[in-house]
């Protein structure tokens, strides 16, 4: 094993239902992928696809139901106690979507940034203060911001503070859960550039979770597309956008305007099914324009269609030929 992060058959089931009718929500179901060092790996999907759950499981903020995670060849899933905490604190960090709810409203910026230093290591007050000032400059904020409270910051500034906080313990992997979704376009551009700078400067590996294909397509090297807890397609970002192979990915890419299309563009009908009761077989078959009887019977396996490009679909030949099933076709091709 040589990859930086290896995720194998990861599952996360949430209990649901009543005492007499126990059910499970399969939020993440049998997901495997690898991430290289210094790579930006994107997770795309709609709400309920399990992308956030997967991110939280990766750093064990949520305990996976089963499956393995290896970080630098060490079995992260079986670590316990002090070793686990130290290992996680020295490797992982996370930035959430809404900085105004992930920063403590009663703490100043300085207190917020000081906290990780006092928890994880023993610095003197003076040392800690210098480190905090450097951290602030690192994300492009002025020193006078230290005495501000979160409500005195703009959304962009608050997210910069959240990023600075995430980098305090010098992590190697940063999980970015929709880090720019709450921000304006011009602020988003500034922050995405900042994330690139920080990645270069500190050699960071990013797991970038987002529903915004434009953002993910811009910043990520490789992308995994999720649908109802499953990865349906995984591959190089540029290839995924130019030659999407899974019908779901194709429909997602269809929604962004500025893409040169090498496939039949179509719109999805209906909404994602209830995750409590996902369709049998391929989970996408109820909305798929290429669905054939086998899709409702058997779950498709991941196939490597070109080096590093994996797709889980029964009807790849059909998709490649662009022949949408005739009955659907009339409805789709308005």
């Amino acid at each position: 094993m040589s990859k930086f992060i290896i995720v194998k058959d990861l599952k996360k089931y949430y209990p649901s239902g009543t005492f007499f009718n126990r059910r499970k929500i399969k939020a993440v179901d049998d997901v495997s992928f690898e991430i290289d060092k210094r790579e930006s790996f994107g997770l795309v999907g709609e709400s309920g696809s399990g992308k956030t759950t997967l991110g939280l499981c990766l750093m064990r903020l949520l305990e996976p139901t089963s499956g393995k995670i290896f970080i630098e060849d060490q079995d992260f899933t079986s670590m316990k106690g002090k070793k686990f905490k130290e290992f996680r604190a020295s490797r992982f960090s996370i930035v959430y979507q809404n900085p105004l709810s992930s920063l403590d409203p009663s703490w100043t910026v300085e207190q917020t940034l000081m906290e990780p230093l006092t928890v994880n290591s023993s610095f003197s007050k003076a040392e800690a203060r210098t480190i905090v000032q450097q951290a602030l400059a690192n994300v492009g904020l002025q020193p006078y911001m230290l005495t501000r409270f979160p409500h005195e910051l703009s959304g962009g500034q608050a997210q910069r503070v959240a990023i600075a906080r995430a980098l305090m313990n010098k992590p190697k992997i940063v999980i970015l859960d929709e880090p720019t979704s709450a921000l304006d376009v011009s602020v988003q551009a500034q922050l995405l550039n900042l994330l690139l700078d920080l990645q270069e400067r500190h050699g960071l590996t990013y797991l970038f979770i987002s529903h915004d294909l434009n953002v993910v397509g811009n910043i990520c090297d490789r992308i995994a597309v999720m649908y109802l807890g499953k990865i349906v397609e995984l591959g190089d970002a540029i290839e995924l956008f130019n030659v999407p192979m899974h019908p779901y990915t194709q429909s997602l890419v269809s929604t962004i305007s500025e893409v040169s299309v090498k496939f039949v563009r179509y719109k999805l009908k209906g909404e994602p099914p209830n995750p409590l009761n996902p369709p049998f077989g391929c989970r996408f078959h109820t909305r798929c324009p290429y669905a054939t009887p086998i899709c409702g019977e058997e779950e498709p396996k991941m196939v490597e269609v070109s080096p590093g490009h994996f797709v889980a679909c029964h009807n790849l030949e059909l998709v490649k030929s662009g022949l949408i099933q005739t009955k659907e076709r009339a409805a789709l091709m308005e």
Partner: protein, 325 residues
């Protein structure tokens, strides 16, 4: 197209908010018109005044606001001089609104039937049976399957996309002339957003209404709107047919905004780095003198610091507020 039938005319509208920190000029002499059955998009970032514009038009500004100048004329009637009774009879019937987040704008304790029928019965002297039939027709119109069943549900039993369809059905239930939509698709997923935009373009042909479409998403505007106005710090900086504005932006702010939108890279050689607009939006309590964009503008010269540019027509149908033109 511009000299059509103006349905809504906004003239020199200035709106201020009175806060403890000072007076915020949220809208600064706005001039806009919407013609009959035209879709006008308003694009701007937070703090640009786009939502204030919507609320001023429908008469829902918060109490700490003040309309210090200007006029809003709807179908010949001055809305700012109208009595609250007159406004109430217009609102919901001839001007309606779709809000951003359907989960907070639908009442959680009433069934869909109650909410849709109430809008209808508020303005029309019909009994519940007829109102219900109208509601059913409207739900079918927004492509909700099994409308009969949906009427019996509470809002939480519907998905976000379905809730937004219900909101659209409610806003169109009395055949309004103008629909104001404040970020109607930003709370739903990409594929659902696509469906709702399709729905709006289709309904537009069957019901023939005008729309004031407020959003921060440029892609959406270019898909559904005929014309677009770009707002910055309380002013309209550029206006024109949406396709033209986006394919050939004139104002430096519009140009910079277009460039700062991330796009999927087409090759490995392409840089991930985006062109950014340096700095941040100005403080509207004490905005910069002259052009409000000049501290961030790469083309700014001495005149921009002294003199505020007027929104003027530079070619047919294209208006820009910039000293460069």
């Amino acid at each position: 197209m511009m000299q059509g039938n103006p349905l809504l005319e906004i003239k020199d509208l200035t709106v201020e908010y009175i806060t403890n920190a000072g007076t915020i000029k949220a809208l600064d002499r706005i001039n806009l018109t919407i013609n009959k059955s035209e879709f006008l998009g308003i694009v701007g970032e937070s703090g640009s005044g786009k939502s204030t514009l919507a609320y001023a038009t429908i008469g829902l500004l918060p109490p700490n606001s003040r309309i210090s100048a200007g006029r809003i004329t709807f179908d010949g009637k001055d809305l700012l001089k109208a009595s609250s009774k007159e406004i109430n009879s217009l609102r919901g019937r001839r001007i309606s609104m779709v809000f951003q987040d359907p989960t907070t704008s639908l009442n959680p304790v009433f069934k869909i039937e109650e909410q849709v029928c109430r809008v209808i019965q508020q303005h029309k002297a019909v009994n519940r049976q007829i109102a219900r039939a109208m509601a059913l027709k409207q739900l079918a119109n927004v492509e909700l399957p099994e409308a009969n069943h949906i009427l019996k549900l509470y809002p939480f039993e519907l998905s976000g996309g379905m809730q937004q369809r219900v909101m659209i059905a409610m806003s169109l239930s009395l055949n309004p002339d103008l629909v104001i939509a404040d970020e109607p698709t930003s709370a739903v997923d990409a594929t659902i957003q696509f469906q709702i935009l399709e729905l709006l373009s289709r309904l537009r042909h069957s019901q023939n209404f005008s729309m004031l479409f407020i959003t921060h998403n440029i892609d959406i505007v270019s898909k559904v709107c005929d014309r677009v106005a770009i707002m910055y710090a309380g002013s309209v900086v550029e206006e024109g047919p949406s396709q033209e504005v986006f394919s050939n932006p004139k104002h430096p702010y519009t140009q910079a905004l277009m460039k700062s939108i991330p796009r999927p890279r087409k090759s490995i050689a392409e840089t991930k780095r985006l062109n950014v607009i340096e700095g941040s939006i100005p403080d509207l309590i004490s905005p910069p003198k002259g052009c409000k964009f000049h501290p961030r503008c790469p083309y700014a010269y001495s005149r921009c610091q002294r003199e505020e540019p007027e929104l003027k027509e530079i070619t047919v149908n294209r208006k820009v507020a910039c000293h460069l033109y």
